[in-house]
Amino acid sequence: MTNTVILTIVILTLVGLILALVLFWVAKKFRVEEDPRVDEVEKVMPGANCGGCGFAGCRAFADAAVKAPNLDSMFCPVGGNDVMKKVAAILGYEVKEKAPRVAVVRCNGTCANRPRTNVYDGVQSCKVKAALYSGDTGCSYGCVGCGDCVAACQFGALSMDPETGLPVVDESKCTACGACVKACPKGVIELRNKGPRSMRVFVSCVNQDKGGVARKACSAACIGCGKCAKVCPHGAITVENNLAYIDFTKCKLCKKCVAECPTGAIHAVNFPVLPAKPAAPKAAPAAKPAATDATPAAERTDKKKEAANE
């Protein structure tokens, strides 16, 4: 009886020792040399594995960052400049700060602006709907409203507004990972610079139809009239294929185009609401002083923005 117990203990100990030796040898022989900095970098990453950086996940990004000669072409949109600074500190690189970005929905085809011309009864997926036809309004470019972008967002930053039928971006949650941009079959969503104090001016339309056709389909469409391009003092606006586009790296937020646009397709968001001036009799003159008032503020913030861009 005692013998059996002792024998069992001895055999198990021996087996354990042999296996331990085998494991030790295997661990030596097949050891994968890995830069310990990869682990360190991965630790400071947000861990969302969203793919917004263009790599398969945070680990892949960390691996690539360690191997890269510099960090110029790499950026984690979710972590932003803070994370990039930490990564740079670990790897001993310089990091260029990037202006934070945000997803912008460039369609204002609300139910009121863009009347429905037919009823869609198929699968509630933008991809399927866009592959079948141009959408249930006269506009063949804008948002088709099935919410593929909402489903694609890992951060809960997008939601559909039931009143307008358009997606809404929650700027506090948006990390500019670009998943919604990829999910949108119509190319409605764009990543734009967040702007100083989140102030932005953009064309909220992607319709490339000629003015009359676009206007007929949607009262808030860009008709490609070019007035905004003429009035822009910074050359930030180009009109191509009957559609205006504001280059956010050139825009100085003067808002002259906003006042000029005949259809209201250019949106200015997050600007402080100026106190209404009782002296101004009409809307048009009121808009002008507002624009001039905004200029100095914009110039001040420009310097900050330029610094941020460098």
Binding site: T117, D121, G122, V123, V128, A131, Y133, G135, S140
Partner: protein
């Protein structure tokens, strides 16, 4: 009951060929036609006219934009107003040539008479050239340029030409009407294509069209071309699918990733045969086609089979047919199984337009979907032997490799799975997306392989 049919899958929708007794009427000329440059599969045609040009009916207005492409001819005489971007059936912008109609003058050399020309040119190159010059494309739905299909790649030989008179889509009767009214022309057209390929020919017609079978048999007997046979097939959808018809007639299966020519067959529609006859024997290019106006909310006396000029706006045809009937909830161009819902009635007709179908809400409303219970009805119905429920799951999981392994690229988008699903799962919509995705991957891979091969050279 005929026993000849394809072996796998298929469904039996009600055929509803209500407009079968409506003789073909010639539609009046519209004030303006809009001729699309993308009326065929392949590269869009390049316009060769400019604003202000005077054109006659049958004159070339656009040239092929590539190897797989086709000529486009003016369907009317008049003045070119310009090349305009206009929305197609699905609302997408496509360049169209706008022509204001003035009179009805035809280009020189076009024989407009009704006399039957039965003599077949001895040189097959002449026939092929005339088919190409006539802008003939497959009128069964895919609109693949006919001259390309009749000219198989070197080393590939066809031993049977199948003329597709199945018209398995419910409601449609345009093919039936031409088979009954113009069987002689169809048989001559078939003989012309048979001459090009140098093989036997079978005309397959579903047995719900006995008049067409009789008419074609009488024509074949009368005209006396050798090796042309008319077969009556059992009624079953999608018999008119190329691969299904080959299986039904020849009992051969086209392997995954192969073309019908790999199984020794070439399939052409009866309407294409008619277009070939007109292009070769009458020098008359493809500028007209037949279209059915029908639907479950349209009384029989308002149903029509029209001979229309290609480029006529749908809205004009709808007006001529008495406007949109009461109760119509959905307008479909093409049959109810594979046709497309029309979201833009101002769209112009194209070479492949085959019907305007008005359906009620009761007939078209989708039922709310429930869960898959793995009953396997979709797998039983799939004529390509695929497993639609599995493809649907793989698509939802985003598994492109799995989709390719399960041959999603072989889907012919016939809609049998969707038709048979008791849970009303939108199988086809998802599978079509998956197919597009996988086809993109396959094409990218082929392009990369080609580039690599060239780099080695």
């Amino acid at each position: 009951m005929s026993k000849i049919t394809f072996r796998i899958g298929g469904v039996h929708p009600d055929d509803n060929k209500i407009s079968r007794n409506c003789a073909i009427e010639t539609l009046p000329l519209p004030p303006t036609v809009y001729v699309s440059v993308s009326q065929h599969i392949g590269a869009p045609a390049k316009p060769v006219v400019a604003a202000g040009d005077k054109v006659k009916a049958g004159q070339v207005i656009a040239e092929p934009g590539g190897f797989v492409s086709a000529f486009v001819h003016s369907p009317v005489s008049g003045t070119v107003k310009g090349i305009v971007s206009r929305k197609d059936l699905a609302g997408r912008p496509v360049p169209h040539i706008e022509i204001a109609v003035e009179g009805d003058e035809w280009a020189e050399g076009i024989d407009l008479s009704d006399t039957l020309v039965t003599e077949i040119p001895s040189d097959k190159a002449v026939i092929l050239e005339k088919i190409k010059a006539g802008g003939v494309v497959g009128l069964g739905g895919a609109t693949f340029p006919t001259h390309v299909k009749l000219n198989p790649a070197p080393g590939k030989v066809a031993d049977c030409l199948i003329i597709n008179g199945a018209e398995c889509e419910p409601w449609l009767t345009s093919d039936f009407r031409i088979m009954v009214e113009r069987p002689d022309e169809i048989v001559v057209g078939a003989a012309l294509m048979q001459k090009v390929l140098g093989c036997r020919c079978v005309i397959g017609v579903e047995e719900n069209k006995p008049e067409a079978v009789e008419a074609l048999k009488a024509s074949v007997a009368k005209l006396g071309y050798p090796d042309i046979q008319v077969l009556s097939l059992r009624k079953r959808y999608p018999q008119g699918g190329e691969k299904q018809l080959i299986d039904a007639v020849l009992h051969r299966q086209v392997r995954s990733g192969c073309l019908p020519i790999d199984a020794g067959a070439v399939v052409q529609n009866v309407a294409t045969a008619l277009a070939v006859y007109e292009a070769v024997q009458k020098n008359r290019p493809l500028v007209t086609n037949t279209l059915t106006v029908t639907g479950d909310c349209l009384p029989v006396e308002r149903q029509h089979n029209y001979l229309f000029r290609i480029g006529t706006p749908l809205s004009f045809i709808m007006e001529q047919a008495g406007g949109v009937p009461e109760g119509a909830a959905k307008i479909i161009s093409g049959g109810p199984m594979m046709g497309k819902a029309v979201s833009n009635v101002d769209a112009a007709t194209v070479k492949g337009s085959s019907s305007i179908l008005y359906l009620t809400e009761a007939a078209t409303k989708r039922n709310p979907q429930s869960n898959c219970i793995r009953c396997g009805k979709c797998s039983d119905a799939c004529p390509m032997g695929l497993e639609p429920f599995l493809l649907n799951r793989l698509y939802k999981a985003g598994d492109a490799d799995g989709l390719e392994k399960n041959a999603v690229q072989d889907c012919i988008e016939c809609g049998c799975c969707l038709y048979s699903c008791p849970a009303y799962i939108p199988l086809l919509d998802n599978i079509r997306q998956a197919k597009g995705q996988v086809m993109g991957i396959i094409r990218a891979r082929a392009a990369a392989a080609k580039a690599a091969a060239e780099a080695v050279k």
